[in-house]
Amino acid sequence: MKIVVCMKQVPDTTQVKIDPQTNTLVREGVQSIINPFDVYAIEEGVRLRERFGGTVTVVTMGPPQAENALREAITVGADEAVLVSDRAFAGSDTLATGYILAMAIKKIGDVDIIICGKQASDGDTAQVGPGIATQLDLPQVTYVNKIEDIKDGHAVMHRMTEEGYEIVQTSMPCLITVVKEINEPRLPSLKGKMKAKSAPIKAMKAIDMDVDESRLGLTGSPTWVSKIFTPPSRPKGEIFEGEADACADKLVSTLKDHLKG
């Protein structure tokens, strides 16, 4: 089985700061990590290989330093890595990104299953996975929390919904997006880390793929951002100062007044 996992390098959201002047993310000095949901996608890809055999190829679109994220995927079991990177891709929105990744996957060829995290922690759109499936004209199952079985060209999986789960059967090849309930990602192995150090990372540029240039980067992106702003923070709560007992009395009486109020 040929498994492709799409992943994204994102800023570590626990460290994100917003520039108050420009209202944009401060990326300098912020550590990059693999998008947390993609970690589950990589793990599921590796587990599928362990169950059914085959290879796991991780693919990312991003700047050259996204190579680090690909190497990290190799430490936890990915076999091959492809970095889709070109100046022409800069400024791509979800539509253009879905298109470019779809074309890259087409180039990889003969893929049985594409796995994506349900969304990225920076943009939170959850659009790229479904976008790839649409571009490739493949069936898609989103929010998968369990792959029951894959055989005879079909896959049966559980799809998480707010009320419970749906059991879905789909023909293969297909694209799925996974939620974090699907597995518990493993830690890297020493052999994986050693392999990752020297593993070749395949670079894919626009000229390596069969792409329509008008659909790349800013030109290919109908989305435009009119304004980014920080929503006003909640008004500060009241702070009582002084002896603990007195503060507690004050707190209780204030709460009582509120309830009456």
Binding site: L187, P188, S189, L190, K191, K197
Partner: protein
Amino acid sequence: MLDYLLTDDQKMIRDLCRQITDEKIRPVSAKYDETQEFPWDVVKVMAESDICGLYIDQQYGGMGGGIMELVIATEEFSKGCGGIALAFAATALGTLPIMLFGNEDQKKKYLPDIASGKKIAAFGITEPAAGSDASAMQTTAVLKGDHYVLNGMKHFITNGGDAETYVVIAMTDKTKGARGASAFILEKGMKGFEFGKKEDKLGIRASSTRELIFTDCKVPKENLLAKEGMGFIVTMKTFDKSRPGIGAQAVGIAQGSLDAAIEYSRQRHQFGKSISSFQGIQFMLADMATQIESARALVYGVARMIDSGAKDYSKYSAMCKLCASEMAMKVTTDAVQIFGGYGYIKEYPVEKYMRDAKITQIYEGTSQIQKNVIGLALIKEALKK
């Protein structure tokens, strides 16, 4: 930490073991300390991360590292829990005799499963009446045809009952004293090989300590390690290589307690200031950090000497174990002192570090036995001059 000029691979091992410690050991260390259950879930993680075979030759499925790699991993795990670290480090103690003295068949049979983490190992020499004086051992092995028959018991055996592979020392000829001891490889499940009570210990409670009981236990002749009469040499050569591991365990435990003490001293406010602003506390932290770094430097130095192929290092091996374990007891006691009353209760982590540290002064030779080894070596050297 001082720059010890580790190789890239050694740094990789350290980082991976640190990740295992932070993500898989720290969250469960209090639980296993309380329940005294064996931390199989952590062993599984170590196995999947290729750590179990770190120091075992590649041809037997290991990673081909040496004592230095063993030391790096043991130290990192011990920062989180000195007990859980033993599932790994005491397995090394049971594996080293096979690596050092096993023949090709024995190595092929036993090392791959240990390297893959499928099985853990243990070493058995101590008996109720034979502790520091191992020559007082009562367990016997008598050759009958194609097998030896073992009778007697061992106690205080780390990983006892949970390990699958054991190296056990027994007397094949009592009349020869220390030269009448031999080493055998035993497997859990052999007829006549049973386990006695599990000890309820002060520290390293995540590690199992049990009695091994032999009642007409038939051990195939091919499970004899080295030759008859080599039992004590096997033991001494094994301890020479394993003692830096105890040193590393002690360094890790001490570092864990110092890290906790520094963090606490910055949060704890008294007299309107954080206690870390007081020179009295700063001096304690400074002493602790300096003592840890000195011990670490000695442990690493000895590990590297062993890996370089040196022949005579038992004196240094004893020194690093002595130095690190005495240091760990002192540093962890000071960590409890910095925490004050909070250090004395189980809600905070430092009393456990102190309990775990104590064993490092006792097992694989007490501090006093280490001094014997060092002292005798000094006299021997002087006589040679």
